[in-house]
Symmetry: C2
Subunit: 441 residues, 2 copies
């Protein structure tokens, strides 16, 4: 049985223990012993070992946009045109290559599980591939090659906006309607490293009379169910115009809220929206680096947490892949908005990136270093130029560390990253350049 | 004569050139040739080579606070108590040790010149050291050992607040009055790697009838002159209460504004304040990571730039030492506040961190890769997990790179960092821990 001796480890319900031996059998933690000397057979992990990080909201192909959408003026909507230009060039082969390098960057950052919000389903123009799930299969294969778990949140996307038809770049996102979407997704299966989940892209992309179909499908199968929610004020305005209610209320009335549901962004909410999310036990995935990049605004993170909503984080647009930066971004942006510090304690932010994130992706058995949980370990260097001097605390990890401080990553008991390098894929600089070069002009 | 062949280089007034040979003699650039093959005698720099970065606002000892002020609730003022606890424990020896490691982290991040805003002058309690400039000398020595240039912005700090006497931790900051401050600072001298500048800590710490004394001293000597300005709304409120004007107007009326002046933070300004700064050619140093950390709020960066104010950046509280993160923070926080993208182009943000920063620190001959300028070169890796795929652009450096992507740093023609390691000091993890351990509990 492989075992890891950790100089320090972050153990539930939220404390640092020293000299911890973690034994893993068949991918599960079988023993956690504190305060012991390193046995000769154990692999040693220095620094502070935390549970595997969950990246609850990813669009893998956006990695190709990093740095490339930063010239010129604009907003979310002009950025979206640039993003569509890349989406138009994807095919199953280059999507696999791009997903593989993006997920490798994630693994190097300590991410053991990715929630891929997937809506580029068909050929450009909308004709299905011979395998109608070829694009989803590429994402699943990419994660498998990297050695991280994946929740494929297959998104229903059938309209170009509220009351609007699809634009040409959007046609490949659409199955036509929610029934056809469900028929296609029914062909996808869970696997050892894969969960199939459902998504409504947004109330922009699914008409109100089809929201319930997607929600019903997800509820019947008891799978994770995600949706973009109120990232932009224009979405709220259009929803109020057409339906007379906020997007949150519209989703609530369609049966989309609930303990398996995760609303992504949730930036522009009313007090009533927050109450609806909280009372239904719907989670919220915040994407601070993306919301800052796209000028979405600062969401009501403090109010959501105060209402009891479980928060998680996602790298979303991949402008940065660093769960520590996402985690501290929740608190730091709250500080900018409220002029006060400490709405969130570091341990709560670490929970958002680990146990809460995994739960939102359908892996209730991951995200804690405890017996019976999956054997995911992430070692964070406490002696780097960034972290040295902070001590073995959650505060050092959340506020001082960056993804570059992740030295070792174990997923389901398998060593995926060792000494800051992916054990199978090595240096990814050249393959990243090639994979991105294939889809940008 | 040493020369560097750069795969790509950022040349004035703001373009990327390929295959550039830069020759340096006696610390100055003597030749810049584009589009040539690498000569065998030249040292090769891959990626994109940019000018040396200027960190326009630093409190070196705050490095000891990183991660350590993040527990519990509070605001700027409660954070200040924690900061004072460290300030109380400083002495010339442990200050040198701490400055040396902090400046090493800066050098590794591509910072070739530091503006140290220095106000911990005397022994705890306020009695001068036998050398009354022993603490400033420690900072100067620290920079010398690291191999970066320093502008010592020696700050006058004689009051505990507007109309308030000094608290015990503040006593060591004070010379008693501005005249005594000037007498002490007169004993400091420029050196090859050092400029002596002046500072008013803030309108909180210097009564209005002494502001002019400091301003006069700085003007007569034609040195850089900095002051904290309107970081907190409470400062504005107290100033309006006592003097009936904003801090900016008070400083203007005291003769403190001008082309050699740099206002630090400038977070809470009126339209009139912005006009005063612009019409007087006063610069503004923004510290985005600190303003976010301390919950200062989002300053009017766009309005300042539109008015023609020269912007620079500083790492200030050292919660992060990464000039690229500071630079993009200007634009990203502007996006959060305005819901639009592209107020600043990447080239302008790079200028803020290089040529504008150096000018604000009194080094008008640094911050550009051009003949006659100082031989400061910073190579940024374009093939890392973060930067690969972005291309050789200012956008990749500002938005995709982190300080960890700086591979090589040359200061005044001397190689200070090579292959991501400080050539003289090596790995600084252990020394960082020791230096911080000496001043924290």
């Amino acid at each position: 049985m492989p075992s890891w001796w950790c100089e320090n480890a972050w153990l539930p319900p939220g404390r640092v223990a020293a000299r911890v031996l973690i034994t893993v059998d068949d991918g599960r933690v079988t023993e956690v012993k504190e305060g012991i000397d390193p046995p000769p057979t154990a692999q040693r992990l220095t620094g502070l070992v935390i549970p595997g990080l969950a990246n609850t909201h990813s669009h893998a192909f956006h990695r190709a946009l990093r740095g490339r959408t930063q010239a010129g003026r604009g907003d979310f909507w002009t950025w979206r045109e640039q993003m569509y230009a890349v989406a138009t060039r994807l095919d199953p082969d280059n999507y696999l290559a791009l997903a593989r390098v993006t997920y490798t960057e994630m693994a190097l950052a300590g991410i053991t599980c990715v929630g891929e919000f997937h809506y580029v389903h068909h050929q450009s123009g909308g004709v299905p591939y011979s395998d109608p799930n070829a694009m989803g299969a590429a994402l699943i294969e990419g994660a498998a090659q990297v050695g991280v778990r994946l929740t494929l949140l297959d998104a229903c996307y059938v309209a170009g906006g509220i009351g609007e038809s699809l634009t040409p770049p959007q046609r490949r996102f659409s199955d036509g309607d929610a029934v056809a979407w469900a028929a296609r997704v029914d062909e996808l299966s869970d696997a050892a490293h894969v969960r199939i989940g459902a998504a409504i892209h947004s109330v922009r992309a699914v008409p109100s009379d089809q929201l319930g179909d997607v929600a019903d499908w997800a509820r019947k199968r008891a799978v994770p169910f995600h949706f973009h929610l109120s990232e932009q004020r224009a979405e709220n305005d259009a929803c109020l115009d057409r339906y007379g209610v906020t997007p949150t209320r519209l989703l609530a009335d369609s049966g989309a809220l609930g303990a398996a549901a995760v609303a992504v962004h949730a930036t522009h909410l009313t007090a009533g929206d927050i109450a609806l999310l909280a009372s239904s036990s719907t989670g919220v995935c915040l994407c601070p680096t993306t919301e800052r990049d796209l000028g979405d605004g600062i969401g009501p993170a403090g109010a959501l947490a105060a209402a009891g909503v479980a928060l998680s984080v996602g790298s979303d647009g991949q402008s940065v892949i660093d769960m520590f930066e996402e985690a501290r971004g929740i608190e730091l942006d709250e500080r900018l908005a409220t002029y006060s510090r400490g709405t969130f304690v570091a341990g709560a932010l670490l929970d958002a990136t680990t146990v809460a994130g995994h739960r939102g992706l359908g892996w209730a058995d991951a995200g804690q270093l405890a017996v019976g949980m999956r054997g995911d370990l992430v070692a964070v260097d406490l002696a780097s130029r960034r972290t040295a001097g902070g001590g073995a605390t959650a505060e050092t990890v959340v506020y001082a560390a960056s993804a570059a401080d992740v030295t070792d990553v174990v997923v389901d008991g398998n060593v995926v990253v060792k000494d800051r390098e992916h054990v199978r894929l090595g240096d990814i600089g050249a393959t990243l350049q090639a994979a991105i070069g294939a889809v940008v002009r």
